[in-house]
C-alpha cells in the first residue's frame, strides 16, 4: 500500500479527505458562518494518516496513491 520514496500531492493520496459535505460534518459550525465550498478553503482537506488539516498541494513520506499506476 505504501510507496516509500515516491511523493505525490495530498490531493492524490488515499488518506486525503476533501469532500465538502464530509468536511462540514467533521467541523461543526463551519457552515453557519462560512462554507466548505468557499474559495478561501481552496482544495484543502484532512489527512487521515496524520490527523491534520492539510493543503491539497502538501506532501509527506506516507503518500499512498489513490489510483494505482497502470502496469
Amino acid at each position: 500500500m505504501m510507496t516509500a520514496g515516491r511523493r505525490g500531492p495530498c490531493r492524490a493520496c488515499m488518506f486525503f479527505r476533501d469532500d465538502p459535505a464530509s468536511l462540514e460534518r467533521s467541523l461543526p459550525g463551519l457552515a453557519a458562518l462560512s462554507s466548505a465550498h468557499g474559495a478561501s478553503r481552496s482544495d484543502d482537506g484532512t489527512c487521515a494518516r496524520h490527523d491534520r488539516y492539510v493543503a491539497a498541494s502538501a506532501s509527506c513520506a506516507s503518500f499512498a496513491p489513490l489510483v494505482p499506476a497502470a502496469r
Binding site: 490531493r11 492524490a12 458562518l33 462554507s35 465550498h37 496524520h50 502538501a58 489513490l66
Partner: protein, 467 residues
Amino acid sequence: MSEIAVGTPAQDAGRVPARAGAFWRKDDWWAVAIGLGLIVLAYALFAGGSSLAWLAVIPAKWTTADQLGAHFAANWPRYVAQFALWLVLASAALTALGYRLRDTVPAFAFLYLLSVAIFALGQWASAVRYNLEPPLVALVIGLLIANLNLLPRGLDAGFRVEFYIKLGVVLLGATLPFTLIVWAGPVAMFQASIVSVVTFAVIFFVARALGLDPRFAAVLGVGGAVCGVSAAIAIAAAVGARKQDAPIVISIVILWAILMIFALPFAAGWLALPAGVGGAWIGTSEFADAAGFAAAQAYGEIAAKLPGAPAGGVDQSVAAFTLMKVVGRDVWIGIWAIVLSIVAATRWEPTGIDSRASAGDIWRRFPKFVIGFLLASIFITLVAQDVGHAQFGKAATTDLVTPIKNLRTWAFAFGFLSIGLTTRLRDLAGVGGRPLLAFSSGVVVNVVLGFVLSVLVFGGYWARLGQ
C-alpha cells in the same frame, strides 16, 4: 511526528483526485454569476424602457394590519414570481454544489416565506421602537428553530449562509460607485491592516504564553484578525494544524460573532455614531462576513432613526462595513497563508508534512466574490457615465439601482436567517479555557483599537462616506 494507523478507507473507494480549482464547485463563482446576471438583466430592462422593479418587490411600510394585508393582496403575483426566480437560481447553484433538489426546494420555500414575514415585520412603523431590526429578528428566530430542533437537518442544504451573503455582496457592488471604492479603499486597507496585525499578534502571543501549540495559536489568531471561520480553516491547512484545533476555533468565533451582532450595533447606537462610522467600527471588530453584514445592516437601521441622522443610514453603514471587512481584511487571506506556512515550516516543530504555500495560493484562496463586487461597481459606474449623472440620478435610481438594492436586501435576508437556522449550539466543540482566554484578549484589543481608529482617527472620513 505522530501518525494515525488507518486501514483502507472504504468510504473513499472509487474516489478520484479532485480537479483542482473546479470553479463550479465553489459558491463564490455561483454568487458572481448569478449576481452579475441579475445586474445585467436589470440594465437590459432599464435600457429597453422597462424595469426589474416589478419582480424586485419588497414589503411596504405599514402602520395597521389592514395596510399590510392590502399590500400582499395587491402584490401577491409579484411575490410568487420573485419566489420562482430565487428558487430557480438557488436550486441551480446548490445542485451544482452537490445538494439534492428534494432537500433544497422545501428548505428554500421555508426560508423565503419566513424571510417575507420578518421583512414585513421590519417594515412596521413601530418596529424600531421595539428593536425589531430584521437582521436581529432573523437571527433570534433562526437560533430558536435550530436549537429547539424544529426542522430536519436535511433542510440545511438550502440554508447556505455564505452563498446568500456572497450573492448580496455582488449585488451591493452595483449600488456603490467605483469612485467611492477607489476613494475609501486605501484608508480601509490601512486601518484594517493595523487592526488585523495587532489583533493577530495579541491572540497568538497570549495563546503561546498560555502554552498552546503555535499552529493552534496561529489558527486562533487569524480567526480573530482576518475573516473568522473561513480564515481559520484556510490557515489550519496552510500550517498543518491538528484536526481537533479547527472545531475549537470555529466554536469560539461563532460565539463571539453572534454576541457582537447584538453588542456592536447597540453600543454604536448608544454612542450615537454616524452610520458610516458605526459600519467601519463593525468592519474592524466583527469576525465573520455574514455576522458583520447582519450587524452593519441592523446598525444602519438604528442610525437612521437617530436625531438629525442623514438619509441612507443602511447604505452608509453597509458600505463602510464592506470596504473595511471585505476589501480591507478578507482579500489578504492568501498572504496570511503564505507567511504563516513559511513560519510553520521554518520555525515550528516539524509535522512530517511539507505544506509550504506558494505564490499561487494568493489567487487560489482569494475570495472570488470580491471580483464580482468590483465588476458590478465598475459596470454601474460606466452606465452612470454613459447615461449622464443628472439623468442617472432621476430615472436610474428608481428603475435600475433600487430594484438591485431590493434584491440585495432579499439575499442578505436569506443569509441572516440561515445563520440562525444552521447554528446549533449543542453541536459546537467545547472551547476550553485557554483558547477562549487568548481569543477574548484579542477581542478586547480589537474592539478598542477598532473604535479608536474608526471614531477618533478616521471618524470624519467615515461619516462623509457616500455623501
